[in-house]
C-alpha cells in the first residue's frame, strides 16, 4: 500500500524547492563520482601533468591481482561482522534502556557518547589498549585468561579488533534510532499481549520486532554502507590492512592506493567497482528484504 504524492499541478515549484539540494549533491556527489569514472580509465601522475587514456587496463590490472580477491573476501567478513554486531548491540542496549526505570538519561548519554569520538582518535585508543606488547586489555587477556592475543600477527585477532572498533561507534547511532522506534510502539498493544499471557520474549518477537522492522531495515542499509565506505580511517589507524593483508578491505585499498600511493587511476577503478557492488547490494536489499518490512498505513 504505497502512497504516492503527486506534484503534477505544481511542477515548477517542486523543481524550485529541489534545486538547492540538487546543486549541493551535484557539487559534492555527482561531480566527484563522474571524475572518478573518468579517472578509472586513465593512468596519470599525482600532479595531473601527464594522463593517458588506457581503456580497461586499470580494471584488468586489479582483477588479475590475487591480493584484490583476498580483499573482497576480507570485506565480506568485515562488513557482515560490523553490520550484524552494530545492529544487534544497538538493539540490545535500546531494549535494556527502554525497560530501565531509573537513570534513563544517564544510560542514554553513556551509550551515545562513543559517537562523538573522531574515528582516528578511536583507532589510536583501540591500538594502545590492544597492543600485544603494552596494551592494558591485551595484558589482562594474557594474565587473566591466558589468551595469547596478537592482532599484529594473527589475522583473526586483527579482524576481530577492527570489527569491534568499527561497530563500537556505530552501536551508538543504531541505539538512538532503535530507542526512538521502541518508544513509538503503543503501550496498549504490549499490555494487551501481556494480559493474553505472552511473556517478554514472545512480546518482543511477535509485536516489537515486526513493529520496528522499518527502522531495522533502514539501519541495515545505513550500516552496510558505513562498513563499505566509512571505515578506512579505523583500518588505517589500527592495522593498515595487515597483518599480511588480513584486514585489507576494499575501501582501505582505495584509500591506500589513492591517497598514500597517489595512484589515482588504480584507486578510481577500484572505487567504481566498489560503487557497483554497493549499488547492487542496496538494490537487492530493497527488492527482497523490504518485502518483509511492515510500514504503518
Amino acid at each position: 500500500m504505497i502512497k504516492r504524492v503527486n506534484f503534477a499541478k505544481h511542477k515548477p515549484l517542486a523543481f524550485l524547492l529541489l534545486a538547492p539540494q540538487m546543486l549541493i549533491l551535484t557539487m559534492f556527489v555527482f561531480w566527484p563520482a563522474a571524475q572518478a569514472l573518468v579517472q578509472a580509465f586513465m593512468v596519470s601522475d599525482p600532479f595531473g601533468v601527464r594522463s593517458t587514456f588506457v581503456w580497461f587496463d586499470n580494471f584488468k590490472e586489479i582483477l588479475s591481482s590475487p591480493e584484490y580477491f583476498n580483499s573482497i573476501y576480507r570485506t565480506a567478513i568485515f562488513s557482515t561482522g560490523t553490520t550484524v554486531s552494530a545492529v544487534f548491540f544497538g538493539l540490545l542496549f535500546a531494549v535494556l534502556v527502554d525497560r530501565v526505570a531509573r537513570g534513563k538519561t544517564a544510560y542514554k548519554l553513556l551509550v551515545i557518547w562513543p559517537y562523538a569520538v573522531a574515528p582516528v582518535v578511536a583507532g589510536v585508543l583501540w591500538l594502545f589498549l590492544f597492543h600485544p606488547l603494552y596494551g592494558a586489555i591485551a595484558f589482562m587477556l594474557k594474565q587473566g585468561f591466558n589468551v595469547a592475543w596478537n592482532p599484529l600477527l594473527d589475522g583473526g585477532d586483527a579482524m576481530l579488533l577492527v570489527i569491534v572498533a568499527a561497530s563500537w561507534k556505530q552501536v551508538s547511532y543504531n541505539f538512538v534510532f532503535f530507542l526512538a522506534a521502541l518508544q513509538g510502539i503503543p503501550r496498549s498493544l504490549i499490555e494487551a499481549a501481556a494480559i493474553d499471557g505472552a511473556g517478554p520474549v514472545r512480546r518482543f518477537v511477535s509485536i516489537v520486532l515486526p513493529l520496528i522492522s522499518p527502522t531495522t531495515f533502514f539501519l541495515l542499509v545505513i550500516n552496510i554502507v558505513y562498513a563499505f565506505f566509512d571505515t578506512f580511517g579505523i583500518i588505517h589507524a589500527l592495522t593498515q590492512g595487515g597483518p599480511g593483508g588480513a584486514t585489507d578491505i576494499l575501501v582501505y585499498k582505495v584509500y591506500a592506493d589513492g591517497f598514500l600511493g597517489l595512484d589515482l587511476g588504480l584507486s578510481s577503478a577500484q572505487s567504481v567497482i566498489l560503487m557497483i557492488v554497493v549499488i547492487g547490494l542496496t538494490v537487492v536489499q530493497f527488492r527482497y528484504l523490504e518485502r518483509r518490512v511492515k510500514y504503518a498505513d
Binding site: 600532479f47 606488547l133 595487515g242 585489507d248
Partner: protein
C-alpha cells in the same frame, strides 16, 4: 568640522604612504609535516631567520603527516597555489620529480650567488638526494639513520657489558635478556628500512637493479636473490622463540615497546633520541646497527625529509628562499638543530663545533649515527634508493614480512612475493610517468 575631516584624511594619507615606504617583508610559504615533539625546534629555526633580517618573512605551516603534507602540495599544484618550500620524505624523491616544478637547490643557490662548499657537507647525506651526475636536488632537512638502542639496566641484569656488534650476537643477547626476565629481547621500528634497505646498503648489496633506481626508471627489485633472505630467515627463527617481537609497522609502535621496558633492544631511527629521553625510566645506550660476522660494514642508509624549492614564484622571492636555505646550513643553526632534534647535522663544520663543545661526552648516543653514515667508502649500491611509488611497494613488503613473522611463509617465499608485487608497482610508476 571641515578642518577636522581634512585633518583625518591627511592623517590617513600619511599612514598609507608610511606603510608603502617601509614595504612589508616578502612572504615565503614553507609547508612541512608536523614533527610532534620537534615542532618547537622548527619554529625556532624559522624565527631566527625572520629576526635576522627584514626583507623576507618565512611563513611556516604544519600540514599533518608527511603523506598529508604531500597531498596538500598536490592540491596546491593543481590550483597553482603551491608553496615556495616543501618538505617531502626522501622516498618521495622520484614522485617529486614528476611534478615538473622542481627547482634544484644547487641551481638555486648558484643562481642567487651563494658560494657553497659542497665538500664541507657529509657526503652520504647529500648523496641520497643527488642526481646520478651529482647535482643536489633538495636540501636534506629531517635526516636520520637507524641505529641500535639498548636498555643499559637490562644489560646489567643479564650480565652484558657492551652492545652486540654482529647480527648473530644480537640474537644471542636477545636470548640472554629473555632469560633475565625480559619478555621481548629485541624489536624494530621501520622494519623494512632496517632489515631490507639498511641491511643491503651496509653489506654493499643491491636492493634493485640500476643502482637502486638511480640509473633509470626500469629498475627491478633483486633483494630476493641476496643475503636479505638469510637475514629474514634468521629473524623468523628469533620470532618463533620470542627473541624478536614484532611491534607493528612504521615507527610509532616500537618506541613505547622499548620505553615501557618490555623490549630490551630496539633498532630505530637516531631521531627517536628525544622521545626516549622523555619516555624511558632507565639508562639507555646506542650502538651501530649490527651486521654479519666477517663483513666490512659500509655506510648506512639515511632517510627522512628534505626541503624542495618549487618553481612558479617571483624572482625576488627566490632570493629570500636562497637566503633562508643558506641560513639553515650555517654551522650554528645546524649544531642547534642536531642537538634539539637528534637529526643528523649536514656539515662537517657543525659536527666539529658540537664535538668541540664536549656535547658527545655527555650524549654519546647522538654521535653513533654520524659515525655510522660516514663509515667506509660509498659505492653506487650505498648511495640512495631512488624508486617510484615507495609508499605502495613498502606496504607490500611489510605485508610479506608479517607473513614471515607469523610463520605463514618461508623467508624465500615472502621475499619472492614482495619482489613480484614490488616490480608490478614499479612498472606502474613508469606508466604513470608516461613511458
Amino acid at each position: 568640522m571641515r578642518n577636522r575631516l581634512l585633518g583625518a584624511f591627511a592623517g590617513m594619507l600619511a599612514a598609507f604612504t608610511a606603510s608603502v615606504a617601509s614595504a612589508a617583508p616578502l612572504e615565503i610559504q614553507f609547508w612541512h609535516p608536523s614533527l610532534g615533539p620537534l615542532d618547537d625546534a622548527l619554529k625556532q629555526q624559522v624565527a631566527s631567520f625572520n629576526d635576522s633580517q627584514t626583507a623576507y618573512k618565512i611563513v611556516s605551516s604544519g600540514r599533518g603527516t608527511y603523506d598529508e603534507t604531500f597531498n596538500a602540495a598536490i592540491a596546491g599544484f593543481r590550483a597553482n597555489k603551491h608553496p615556495h618550500l616543501l618538505v617531502v620524505i626522501g622516498q618521495g624523491t622520484q614522485s617529486m620529480l614528476l611534478s615538473g616544478s622542481v627547482y634544484p637547490v644547487q641551481d638555486l643557490l648558484t643562481a642567487e650567488g651563494h658560494k657553497v662548499d659542497w665538500n664541507g657537507y657529509l657526503q652520504p647525506v647529500l648523496n641520497y638526494y643527488r642526481t646520478k651526475e651529482g647535482k643536489l636536488l633538495s636540501l636534506p632537512f629531517s635526516v636520520s639513520t637507524p641505529i641500535l638502542w639498548y636498555n643499559k639496566d637490562a644489560f646489567a641484569k643479564a650480565g652484558l657489558t657492551r652492545a652486540p656488534v654482529t647480527l648473530d650476537e644480537l640474537g644471542e643477547y636477545a636470548g640472554k635478556l629473555r632469560a633475565a626476565g625480559y619478555e621481548c629481547g629485541y624489536t624494530s621500528g621501520w622494519q623494512q628500512w632496517v632489515h631490507v634497505d639498511n641491511y643491503s646498503v651496509i653489506h654493499d648489496l643491491p636492493i634493485a637493479t640500476k643502482y637502486n633506481g638511480l640509473d633509470g626508471l626500469d629498475a627491478t627489485f633483486v633483494y630476493n636473490k641476496t643475503a636479505v633472505v638469510k637475514n629474514m630467515a634468521r629473524l623468523q627463527s628469533w620470532a618463533a622463540d620470542g627473541r624478536y617481537v614484532y611491534s607493528g609497522r612504521q615507527g610509532s609502535s616500537a618506541t613505547p615497546a622499548f620505553t615501557s621496558g618490555r623490549c630490551a633492544m630496539m633498532t630505530h631511527s637516531s631521531a627517536v633520541f628525544s622521545s626516549l629521553q622523555a619516555g624511558a625510566k632507565f639508562a639507555f645506550g646506542a650502538a651501530p646497527l649490527p651486521y654479519e660476522a666477517g663483513a666490512t660494514p659500509r655506510n648506512s642508509l639515511i632517510g627522512g625529509g628534505s626541503l624542495w624549492v618549487l618553481k612558479g614564484h617571483k624572482p625576488e622571492e627566490y632570493k629570500g628562499v636562497a637566503a633562508f636555505l643558506a641560513h639553515l646550513s650555517s654551522p650554528d643553526q645546524q649544531a642547534k638543530w642536531h642537538k634539539d632534534t637528534g637529526y643528523v647535522p649536514l656539515t662537517t663544520a657543525a659536527y666539529e663545533k658540537v664535538k668541540a663543545e664536549g656535547y658527545y661526552e655527555k650524549n654519546p648516543q647522538q654521535e653513533v649515527a654520524i659515525k655510522q653514515i660516514q663509515r667506509g667508502t660509498p659505492t653506487l649500491n650505498t648511495m640512495t634508493v631512488r624508486l617510484g611509488n615507495a609508499n605502495q611497494y613498502v606496504a607490500a613488503l611489510e605485508e610479506e614480512m608479517e607473513a614471515v613473522w607469523a610463520n605463514k611463509k618461508t623467508a624465500q617465499e615472502a621475499m619472492d612475493d614482495a619482489v613480484r608485487r614490488g616490480n608490478e608497482i614499479l612498472r606502474r610508476f613508469e606508466r604513470q610517468r608516461g613511458n
